[in-house]
Symmetry: C2
Subunit: 301 residues, 2 copies
């Protein structure tokens, strides 16, 4: 499909893309770059046919599809470094979880010969690094692509086709809609999970050990997402701060309503709140967004 | 082990106890009562050897171990009805998720010939009713038992042995410690999950459908516990309100700290918060409180 695909950043997501491209023969050449030599040699050993790039320049110059799979905070430096050496007509995409701010950086570069078509594969596990990756990570997952207004229709189709070959279902969406929807489906839940786990496990509490021991009653389910990569999440919270702060305020208002119902011993109001969320669960199952697989199917086999 | 065990309440937990007692031959006689005749005849069909009690009186009079597995809000009426007809020297236990308030009710009855040894099996699924139950529900789960001060040591040992025969690990704990620890491990997470799902799925939002569609990014993990039985959770929130309100206030303070860090774009503070919760995850895995089984091993096969 492409003569050469380059992947910059070989963590959980980047290395999984490399493995999937290799297994499915999607590109004649696969060039990889990571600032960690250890990550690169680890992948080279596993997939001998990949070519290691010694720097960002080498990684970018021959790619027909250039995939940036690094933390959001590194994009600016990376794009400033590579912007003048990207191959003419190459498509640039990424795997970042927030889009609006990143898009401003890229629009400012005013790339004349390249199309920017952002991607966000909604896939991941609680683990990070190249060892955690696996080829099937994207199978049956959604991937949202957000093209720059200048991108051509056939280029958007190519990126869509690329993710479909990796097994994903693709949805095209504006940067703004993406960031708003993800603030609700992913960023808010992570903010809440971090705060919840922090509250429950107060290291000064004499019951700390007991709380961990009996965590199966609900708390445990939150600790998985509260164990996600700290750098990735710092970047998301800073990039999508406006949406996240609004949804957090809405959440706090809902929580105050619940507290008031508890304080006033208002059983009817509590039932009303609980029934509403029970309905949501049904809708999620009906939308095929649940799975019986271990860890919601997120884990490596 | 017992000549006769009676179970009052045949929902998810009660019916699972009935199945486990039957499979493991823990009692010569099993008597069951539920206010729903449908629930009773359903279980009778599945396990012909159980005896159906037509009322609370019949259910209680011959039991050596009497297990109340109904919502907390029904205890007062049940205990007032049965208190004078319970067999002499019978042990009374339950399966409730909050203890302090219930214990007051039972102490007030001033039972002279019976020992009250409360139980809380930390086991369950998002489903309710007798069809949802299964015999292995308690295997490898914790069960906390909280004896009244008047209970004899050998009686406490009998209740412990009973749960161990059902496959549980048992811990003896005071009513107060139980309610505090459970407020952190279970009640707080449920309060948060209900509020989170309510916030994310605002039915007036034009993106409601999209939010459900892309819920795999974090939100979905919360919808399971936000789908638990509303009546059971109303009762828990009312009974353990003092502890729950305190932990909710602590949670709100932690959330405000996170909001402040986001507002001030304080990346260092964010990393600090996220690293702390990553550690907790390790401790939970080390404590053997995680599982690779589907739905954390909570589901029926």
């Amino acid at each position: 499909m492409f003569d050469c695909i380059s992947i910059i950043g070989c963590g959980l997501i980047g290395s999984s893309i490399v493995r999937a491209i290799s297994e499915k023969h999607i590109s004649k050449k696969i060039v990889i770059y990571d600032k960690s030599n250890k990550a690169l040699s680890f992948l080279k050993k596993e997939i001998p046919k990949v070519e290691l790039a010694k720097d960002l320049f080498t990684a970018s110059k021959n790619a027909d599809l250039l995939i940036v799979a690094t933390p959001l905070s590194s994009y600016k430096e990376i794009f400033l470094t590579i912007k003048d050496c990207i191959k003419k007509n190459a498509i640039i995409t990424d795997t970042g979880s927030a889009k609006k701010e990143i898009n401003k950086i890229i629009e400012n570069l005013d790339l004349k010969n390249n199309s920017w078509i952002a991607s966000h594969p909604i896939a991941g596990t609680e683990d990070s690094g190249p060892k955690a990756g696996f080829a099937k990570l994207f199978e049956n997952r959604w991937c949202i692509i957000s093209p720059s207004p200048k991108a051509k229709k056939e280029e958007i189709m190519q990126v869509q086709k690329f993710w479909e070959l990796l097994g994903s279902k693709v949805k095209v969406m504006s940067f703004e809609d993406h960031d708003y929807i993800l603030s609700l489906t992913s960023h808010l839940p992570h903010a809440i999970a971090y705060s919840l786990v922090r509250t429950a496990i107060d290291s000064k509490d004499k019951f700390k050990k007991a709380v961990i021991q009996y965590s199966a009653g609900g708390l445990r389910d939150f600790t998985r997402i509260a164990a996600s990569d700290p750098i990735m999440w710092r970047d998301i919270f800073l990039d999508n701060s406006e949406n996240i702060l609004t949804t957090l305020d809405n959440f706090s208002n809902n929580l105050e309503e619940l507290k008031r119902a508890i304080k006033e011993k208002n059983g009817k109001e509590l039932i009303k709140i609980f029934l509403a969320t029970k309905e949501v669960r049904k809708e999620i199952i009906e939308a095929g967004q649940d799975t019986e697989q271990p860890n919601f199917g997120r884990k490596k086999d």
